[in-house]
Subunit: 475 residues, 2 copies
């Protein structure tokens, strides 16, 4: 790892590189909103601290770790996610001429600092748990080792990415556990918090075991299977419900889900039966219906009966409308004849816990371990690892947080993913990460797979970490 | 308004226009993440419905309205926001060659449909309440009148934008009311849901009366005043706290806020006094301190006393750490000597109500009014307006939701903002919208300005709307 990111290249480099940028930046030039975030998507203090560090030559290696201080009340575990977007950000981080010009125009910064900013690249190392891994409070999910100015500067966007995808993957995993194998589709784009949240929520949910998303951009960008039905307005825009249904089936004879609750759900189901009978000679078929309101358990049973009695036993029932893991579990417990769930807002905003108490904290600078001791917010010092212990059946039994240098006693979760600003290997595909997440969920003890709060597995803080903390506090 | 958006131009137009795109798209080509969202940032069903409409020539004018069905328990009102981003989206909406190629590759859509998509532009009309306006449940905030395919297609992104900024502006307004005039700064980027949420939360908060943000990109993009302090890691990376403080003041002699709670808040305050005495001969001064943990009311009083006794009466106290409107109100009620508040996560995710129950519903198609009657989700039909009535002091007294065609009885809130796909006038500056929001907050009756739930003002549904609903239901 180079000692500093400011030692090579020059300002022209930043301008030139805009044309030869990595894939994600090229995408952005198509106006896609697929953002390697701008370098300016940061907190002001990252820039002021950066200037202070550079002015004094404080460019020794620093170690920062990202972790969640405390799990929300209704989360028994987290699913780590967002690493891929973080690495993309680190690989493409640079200040463009417009950024630099604007910073200069504010009059806040020294001209020499602006010139050095033009050469900022991330040249550090990243160790991280693979996406899809089950994690708990206090466990380092990502560790960054880089010259202090770089390691500090990336904080805002690093948290912004890791926080959101981990938040959504953790919520989605609960829906997956509740659904007991029935397919789940992300419907949340419209009430996700902005464009990026919509696309990344689809990714995080798929990673955690969802079967697809309605968000087209997530299909294009991440290869997630797409799924969709129709809106109430489609039914309303036609002269009659049966006309709307027939029109849609004519257009999409192989893949159609008809929304039957615009006026009256049971009447909608009977209309489907009538249409199916009319369609029979043509060979066209209705694949599924969707119910989006009312008592979904009762409605799905009534609709199932109408469809079955009408010779539509092969037409599936898909439900949506304010679903979350509790509502899904309730439908499953009530044996509602539901073939799939559309989960929207409550997933994409993680409605019962819309934020995680996560931080990115300095653990070591220039070879010296450090910690903060603020009231209620103290941290453990040093370069840490997670060691995981499983029982004979592979079920997660206990974890330890240890210093990287302590003797290895179990499976270690943090792996090298970036060295000297470059990825250690090609990124795992999303399918691979999704498979990993499924195995991780399967390895949870039953009390943690439950939607109810379950006693956490023991997470030991190693004697090495405790001794280091005492040493620092005594200094 | 042209009858259809598909009648002119050709596929080349879309490719060419990428180069001559409006400002926001040019920005995106700089890799800024500042997204006119991609056309593919939509739900799959928008595309399937679009194909169905086009195949059958269902391109008559449709009227859709965006409104919130029910306010969250802890919101007495909403502040409308996000219109500016919506208009930007509508002006720049087009499918680029890459989008079209990808859609074709899925095999889902007819080739003729893909060719027509290349010509899709938004050519419709938009009427809306100005950003910063106080609104309530069921009130149309934005009304779109356009050929059905266009009016329908924009739904997903329209809700995605209006929902988020209205959500945050409404939360921020409560913080503004609680702070009683003391400055508030948005600190929420890191735990906002992705890049766009970070930037737009800063905008929505500023619109609602915040004084600034720490998010640099929001400063560049929207001209919002920037504000920042320092991180705990800055203190930790130095050999001592006083060294860190001195270093920062040396770098930023005019604008510095020192974070004093890394180890012990009161010790931090005493260190500030010591440093201030050392700095006196140089003329450099410490502007403020920040406290980020512990009992902020008690800590701010203790710190105030230490600073005052140490001759630092001019050093301000800024507080942060899990703040929201309740915590701010508590600090104000306890007369904590606080000069400003940094509000982060709980603002940017609207933690107590992370989503609004908002929808965009078809009200009329081809001159025929319509409504949905789904259980618990019925809507009122027709092209609607909000009429507002104030008392002699200008305080909001009651509203009516009326049909646009009914005789005017009060101030009407929805204004024309777009005609035929073009803005009616130049966009109001953010400062103008912010001023409007401040006047709106001032015009609320005290019970609605309270953080506690207050009885809503009467919102009458006009006899014209009720009669129209009866007519439709009887059809």
């Amino acid at each position: 790892m180079p000692h500093s990111s400011f030692g090579s290249g020059d300002a022209d480099d930043a301008a030139t590189s805009a044309a030869t940028h990595p894939p994600s930046a090229d995408d952005a030039s198509g106006g896609t909103g697929e953002s390697p975030a701008p370098a300016l998507l940061t907190d002001l203090y990252q820039l002021t601290m950066l200037q202070a560090y550079l002015e004094r030559g404080m460019e020794e290696p620093a170690v920062f770790e990202f972790f969640v201080r405390q799990l929300p009340e209704r989360r028994n575990f987290l699913i780590a996610a967002g690493l891929e977007q973080l690495l993309e950000y680190l690989e493409t981080l640079r200040f463009g001429p417009r950024d630099l010009g604007w910073l200069e125009s504010t009059g806040r910064f020294a001209p020499e600092f602006i010139r050095r900013l033009a050469r900022l690249r991330f040249t550090g190392d990243v160790d991280a748990v693979p996406e899809g891994t089950v994690c708990f409070a206090d466990q380092p999910i990502v560790r960054v080792t880089a010259p202090l100015p770089e390691a500090q500067f990336i904080e805002s966007r690093l948290i912004n990415l890791l926080h959101f995808e981990t938040l959504i993957a953790s919520k989605a995993a609960r829906c997956v556990l509740a659904a007991g194998g029935r397919p789940l589709v992300d419907f949340g784009l419209r009430r996700a918090h902005g464009a990026e949240a919509g696309a990344l929520a689809a990714r995080a949910a798929y990673l955690a075991g969802f079967h697809g998303t309605a968000t087209v951009e997530a299909g294009r960008r991440f290869g997630i299977p797409l799924s969709g039905t129709m809106a109430h307005s489609f039914v309303q825009a036609h002269r009659s419900q049966i006309d709307a249904f027939r029109h849609f089936v004519d257009c999409f004879p192989d893949d159609n889900t008809l929304l039957i609750d615009t006026f009256d759900t049971l009447q909608g189901a009977r209309t489907v039966v009538t249409l199916a009978q009319q369609l029979r000679p043509s060979g066209k078929r209705i694949r599924a219906v969707r119910i989006d309101s009312g008592d979904l358990a009762q409605a799905s049973r009534d609709v199932r009966a109408i469809l079955d009695q009408g010779g539509c036993g092969d037409v599936g029932i898909f439900v949506s409308g304010n679903l979350d893991e509790s509502a899904i579990a309730d439908l499953v417990a009530r044996r509602a004849p539901v073939d799939g769930f559309g989960v929207g807002t409550r997933l994409d905003v993680s409605a019962d816990a819309p934020a995680l108490d996560c931080v990115y904290k300095l653990q070591e600078y220039a070879g010296r371990a450090t910690r903060k001791r603020s009231a209620g917010k103290a941290t453990w010092p040093g370069r840490k690892q997670i060691e995981r212990h499983r029982d004979a059946q592979g079920v997660l039994a206990r974890d330890a947080i240890v210093l990287e240098e302590e003797p290895r006693r179990g499976e270690r979760l943090l792996m090298p993913v970036m060295r000297g600003g470059r990825r250690v290997g090609p990124p795992p595909t999303l399918a691979v990460a999704r498979g990993h997440a499924q195995r991780e969920l399967a390895s949870l003890p039953p009390r943690l797979r439950s939607l109810d709060p379950g006693e956490a597995i023991p997470v030991e803080i190693s004697s090495g970490i405790r001794a280091l903390a005492r040493t620092i506090d005594g200094e």
